[in-house]
């Protein structure tokens, strides 16, 4: 639904919003190295800390002899898991169930366990860790979730992680839809390391009965690593009470925008936690602090000196997408209409306290975009020692391919263009029973077909002049917008300028710039006219997330800007009415203001001036409009978004993606010849951010489909490629140029009819599907040349 509810939601003319090449406020600092990240802070007299990491996939520490480590000159302390000092801190709110902050049991290789060495340098920490005499008890482990299905395999999670409380009726949304359910009451109880969860809607028997045939296919998603560009690190130190601030004050840098969380952990009033740095490397929907970011205040408190803790590159290879092996059955009529969808997925549950949302989500699999209402999603979930999955939303775009892969395979079976199969199965704007076309989808589809010169061919039937096989693929998805939380904005007119106080970026993205553009648009200003005050005490933070959140959060900013505008105009009218200027007890006559006699309703702000609507030649610069300080606050929820409310059961803003590949049968190499995205995000706010997110999409998508793979030694469960050489993220030489044709139909429900882009164009199978169209052979990702050759029977 367009932005009917908000102020100026249907605005037609934009001066600032949507403008390209508006630089990021922090870009210069980041590009030149001026920016200070958590790992960059150095304090006088600073100590360093490193946490012991498990060399085993699953193990307990039975004892640790610290004497040799403590005998090393420069090693200051070794803190063990049972140190009473840990009782002084609350567990991390995102840390899950733990008996102690630092546990004596590791659930994956590289897991933090048992001891922290504090020393005068990082090198001495390493030396100290080496010198610890650790008595380990190796425990059974699962790094192959298929093997974990064995009911005889001993449970790898202890009683602390009992899940019996998770069986029950699911939470319902306001609309009565079950959301993010883990286990339902009727699900079989967990056996060994295996749990089951089934969500069935509609009438499956009727769905199968309507079908002319059943299509079966597999969609396998391997786990993908969230490679954070700068290591997680923090530096913390304490200062004594002073007359202005009672109680100890904690300074911490590196736990960006998580001041409240840190305050909670250390039982401090939030005002007593100071965190001035704003820089944090970009990361995709990753919301958790790591131990290196949480532990330094405790160590500093214990040792009375500033402490720095920095993860190594190997330490921050965290999972962000869990393994999923889906076997899908579709009931289909002879003309291609899907009548029943049954998803039998085997999923990696990860190590204890991994994000359940990442594992059990069934809302964004794409099934609800179909007219078919008979959907059964049957999950088998296996505990594993593959790694810890932080709360991360990358599964959202990847899971959507459960359906779009089916459409591609169905097209091959029927010899029909997949765009037509999609069109046949996609429901209308308002419900799964709505048979009308979705305008946004139709626009994206037709634009894509035209720009691709789309001529679908059956699999394995087209060769390029150089002999390679040609393939093409298409997928659709909903442009998402999440609006799960209430947002807040404060704008201030002070000293003649508009200020926007914010804590700054939370994940290295440019939400602040987007919000500033919206505020400038509404206030009749240019982007540079608004002063962004980075202040850790500000209530506003870019916590809304990437583009998915910015359009909802931006709606709040838009409302706030209009409140401030009204206050400015009222103050300007009041100022213009004054006949004297007062200075203490004295007053001086003043010349008439050009705006004298105009009421606030008769004024506007245009190009940085307060002007009379009826006669724009009468104006005063905004800087002279009033001497008052004016504040506008606005908080609350933006309008509900279709995506986050109905999970595809209503469709507003859509996108299409297109890929053409060439496959070399003799080497297994795949070249992406063309990659086109046609998104309709409703309205683009900051074009630079928008386009960058699309480029990020192909980085993710190409990496997951052609390169990235997390390899674990089958015998030991040890990660073999937790480094940037052997775990292959694409480089800029690998990533092809993404052609972008952006439509703006204004049918989203964020600011100005906008939706997001992030959980949308990333995908797990568009390139794979094009390779299938080229070769006629299905190749699970990552389709590295060795796998391609094997699939083609060449080796």
């Amino acid at each position: 639904m367009p932005d009917y509810l908000g102020a100026n939601g249907l605005r037609e003319n934009f001066r600032v919003v949507g403008k390209p090449n508006i630089p990021g406020l922090t870009s210069y600092a980041m590009a030149t190295g001026v920016a200070k990240f958590g790992s960059d802070y150095v304090m006088p007299d600073m100590l360093h800390a490193k946490i012991l990491r498990s060399p085993y996939a699953h193990a307990k520490v039975l004892s640790i002899d610290t004497s040799a480590a403590l005998a090393i000159p420069g090693v200051v302390d070794v803190v063990l898991w049972d140190d009473p000092f840990f009782e002084n801190m609350q567990l991390s709110p995102m840390g899950g169930k733990k008996s102690s902050y630092l546990m004596p049991e590791a659930h994956s290789e590289g897991d933090e366990i048992g001891a922290i060495v504090v020393a005068e340098s990082e090198g001495l920490c390493d030396e100290g860790l080496k010198a610890l005499k650790v008595e380990w008890e190796e425990l059974p482990f699962i790094v192959d979730v298929r093997k974990g299905l064995d009911p005889e395999f001993p449970p790898i999670r202890g009683p602390l992680y009992d899940e019996s409380g998770t069986y029950g009726p699911p939470a319902l949304t306001d609309e009565g839809l079950p959301w993010m359910a883990v286990h339902f009451p009727e699900d079989p109880r967990k056996v060994g390391n295996v749990g089951w969860s089934t969500k069935t809607e509609g009438d499956m028997d009727a769905g199968w009965a309507q079908a002319d045939f059943i299509l079966e296919y597999d969609v396998n998603i391997h786990d993908v690593v969230s490679m954070l560009p700068n290591p997680e690190a923090s530096v913390a130190w304490w200062s004594e009470p002073n007359p202005y601030k009672p109680g100890k004050t904690l300074r911490i840098e590196g736990a960006v925008s998580r001041r409240g969380m840190i305050a909670n952990m250390y039982k401090l009033p939030e005002d007593n936690v100071i965190q001035e740095g704003v820089f944090q490397g970009g990361k995709y929907c990753d919301w958790g602090l790591r131990m290196a970011q949480e532990i330094t205040p405790l160590l500093s408190l214990k040792l009375g000196r500033p402490v720095r803790c920095c993860n190594s590159r190997a330490d921050n290879f965290d999972l962000c997408v869990n393994e999923r092996f889906a076997h899908i059955r579709l009931g289909v009529t002879k003309d291609g209409l899907i009548t029943a969808a049954e998803d039998n997925s085997l999923l990696d549950h990860g190590t204890p306290n991994s994000s359940e949302m990442t594992v059990y989500d069934r809302d964004w699999n794409g099934y609800y975009s179909l007219k078919c209402e008979n959907i059964s999603q049957r999950y088998t979930v296996v505990d594993s020692n593959r790694g810890y999955m932080h709360t991360c939303g990358q599964f959202v775009p990847y899971s959507w391919d459960m359906v779009t892969v089916g459409i591609a395979i169905l097209a091959e079976k029927l010899g029909k263009d997949p765009t037509e199969i999609a069109r046949l199965n996609l429901h209308g704007p308002d419900s799964q029973r709505d048979t009308r076309p979705v305008p946004s989808f139709e626009a994206c589809l037709e634009t894509g077909r035209k720009l691709m010169n789309w001529e679908w061919h059956p699999a394995g039937t087209k060769r390029l002049p150089d002999g390679r096989l040609h393939g093409g693929s298409f997928r659709y998805q909903m442009c998402p917008r999440h609006a799960f939380m209430a947002y807040f904005c404060k704008l201030e007119y002070r000293g003649g300028a508009v200020h926007f106080p914010t804590q700054g970026p939370i994940a290295g993205w440019f939400g602040t710039e987007c919000f500033t553009m919206i505020a400038a648009e509404e206030l009749g200003l240019e982007f540079d006219d608004i002063v962004v005050d980075y202040d850790y005490r500000a209530q506003h933070t870019d916590e809304a997330g990437g583009s998915d959140g910015v359009t909802g959060h931006g709606w709040i900013v838009k409302e706030c800007a209009n409140i401030l505008k009204r206050k400015i105009l009222e103050a300007a009218a009041e100022e213009a009415a004054k006949t004297v200027t007062r200075f203490g007890p004295m007053s001086f006559p003043r010349p008439d203001s050009p705006l004298k006699g105009f009421s606030a309703d008769e004024l506007d702000i245009v190009d940085g001036n307060v002007v009379a609507k009826s006669d724009p030649s009468k104006f005063v610069p905004l800087s002279q409009a009033s001497g008052e300080t004016l504040t506008a606050n606005y908080g609350g929820n933006s309008p509900k978004s279709a995506w986050a409310t109905y999970f595809g059961r209503k469709l507003d803003t859509m996108s299409t993606s297109w890929c053409e590949v060439a496959v070399d049968e003799e080497t297994g190499e795949t070249e992406i010849l063309k990659y086109l995205v046609v998104p309709d995000p409703g309205k683009v706010i900051r074009r630079t951010s928008f386009e960058s997110q699309i480029d990020q999409v192909i980085f993710f998508s190409q990496g997951a489909q052609l390169m990235e793979e997390y390899v674990m030694d089958p015998e030991t469960g040890v990660r073999l490629n937790a480094n940037m050489i052997d775990y292959r993220k694409p480089t800029t030489l690998d990533v092809p140029i993404v052609d972008k044709e952006i439509l703006e139909l204004r049918s989203g429900d964020g600011a100005y009819g906008a939706s997001g882009i992030a959980h949308n164009l990333a995908n797990s199978h568009l390139i794979i599907t094009a390779m299938y169209n080229a070769t006629g052979v299905w190749i699970d990702p990552p389709a590295t040349p060795d796998r391609v050759l094997k699939a083609l029977g060449k080796c």
Binding site: K130, V711, L720, N721, I725, R728
Partner: protein
């Protein structure tokens, strides 16, 4: 990285003497050594790092008579952009340019590149997690583990007990090794001159035949027909900052009486495809002959299930490079 002593060597003699004392490692460009130290992959952490870059006169590229001479400390970037190299041995410039990344090529050296340790992920796992045969252990973990990038032409043998031999199947993945092999390079050290066929590999504990304290000082490349009539192909899964899964150099003399074919990434040392060379010697390349040579080059391969693709790659790439020669 753990603490160590750092010494700037002033002479090769000083460096050699330090290395002979034990507990010392030599540092050139650092491309191989520094990650190894950072990841703490060795059984024993060195107490001293001796810097060779402070030794004068080891960074040069010059023609001396009918030989191209390159100082061991010459950076890969200098090799890649040298007009002398580009003119006299273009595939050497090409191979140097394809290694590593632009910034690392400015520091890493040709000597370091040919002396690099194997790229086995068990060998390279941090904190010496796998105490393998390359470190004096009694097994090769890749044999039973994930060996998708490992040798298809056997391995280095080692004894675990008198008369009991086992294999290590780590491979040499250096970019320059196959090229230098087909160009019949010589390796000048502080003690001798080593021919191209004798430099690489001498068992599981060393990746070159350099003895303790022996330092590579110069690489000599004869200015022959082979240097002019050659091709280099690198097959990697990523276009930059990646080691080749397989790389290949082919060269032929002017009258086509002799072909040289060397393949990296398929054996513990650069693999010379003798059968293919014999098939080709004295003949002009035809599509049929190129295909047969590809098949011959892969003859004798005994791949594991995970690395059988390398056989197909050899067949295809040898064929294609011969046709493009």
């Amino acid at each position: 990285m753990r603490p160590f002593n750092h010494i700037n060597a002033e002479t090769l003699d000083e460096a050699s003497a330090a290395l002979k004392k034990g507990g010392t490692v030599a540092l050139a460009g650092g491309g191989d050594l520094l990650p190894a130290l950072k990841d703490d992959i060795f059984r024993t952490y060195p107490n001293t790092v001796i810097n060779l870059k402070s030794v004068p006169d080891l960074n040069y590229i010059r023609i001396d008579g009918d030989t191209l001479k390159i100082g061991a400390l010459t950076t890969l970037a200098d090799v890649a952009r040298s007009p002398l190299v580009q003119e006299s041995a273009p595939i050497l410039a090409q191979a140097a340019r394809s290694a590593s990344s632009p910034s690392l090529r400015e520091t890493t050296t040709i000597g370091g590149n040919v002396c690099q340790l194997p790229r086995c992920w068990y060998f390279r796992k941090l904190n010496n997690r796998f105490d393998c045969a390359r470190k004096g252990g009694d097994r090769c973990f890749a044999l039973t583990g994930d060996n998708r990038y490992h040798s298809i032409f056997g391995g280095e043998t080692f004894e675990t007990a008198p008369g009991v031999t086992r294999l290590c199947i780590a491979v040499n993945q250096g970019d320059l090794a196959p090229v230098l092999t087909v160009l019949i390079a010589k390796f000048v050290t502080t003690e001798r001159v080593i021919g191209n066929l004798d430099f690489f590999g001498v068992g599981v504990l060393r990746s070159t035949t350099l003895g303790c304290g022996e330092l590579l000082t110069e690489i000599q490349i004869p200015l022959s027909d082979f240097a002019k009539n050659a091709r280099y192909k690198r097959f990697a899964f990523r276009k930059s900052i990646d080691f080749p899964v397989l790389n290949l150099a082919v060269a032929v003399n002017a009258d086509k009486s002799r072909y040289h074919i060397c393949i990296g990434g398929v054996a513990p040392v650069p693999y010379i495809a003798l059968k293919a060379e014999e098939l080709l010697n004295g003949k002009a390349i035809t599509p049929e002959l190129a295909e047969a040579a590809g098949i011959a080059a892969a003859e004798g391969a005994k791949p594991y299930e995970a690395n059988a693709y390398k056989v197909q790659l050899i067949k295809t790439l040898v064929k294609r490079e011969l046709l493009a020669l």
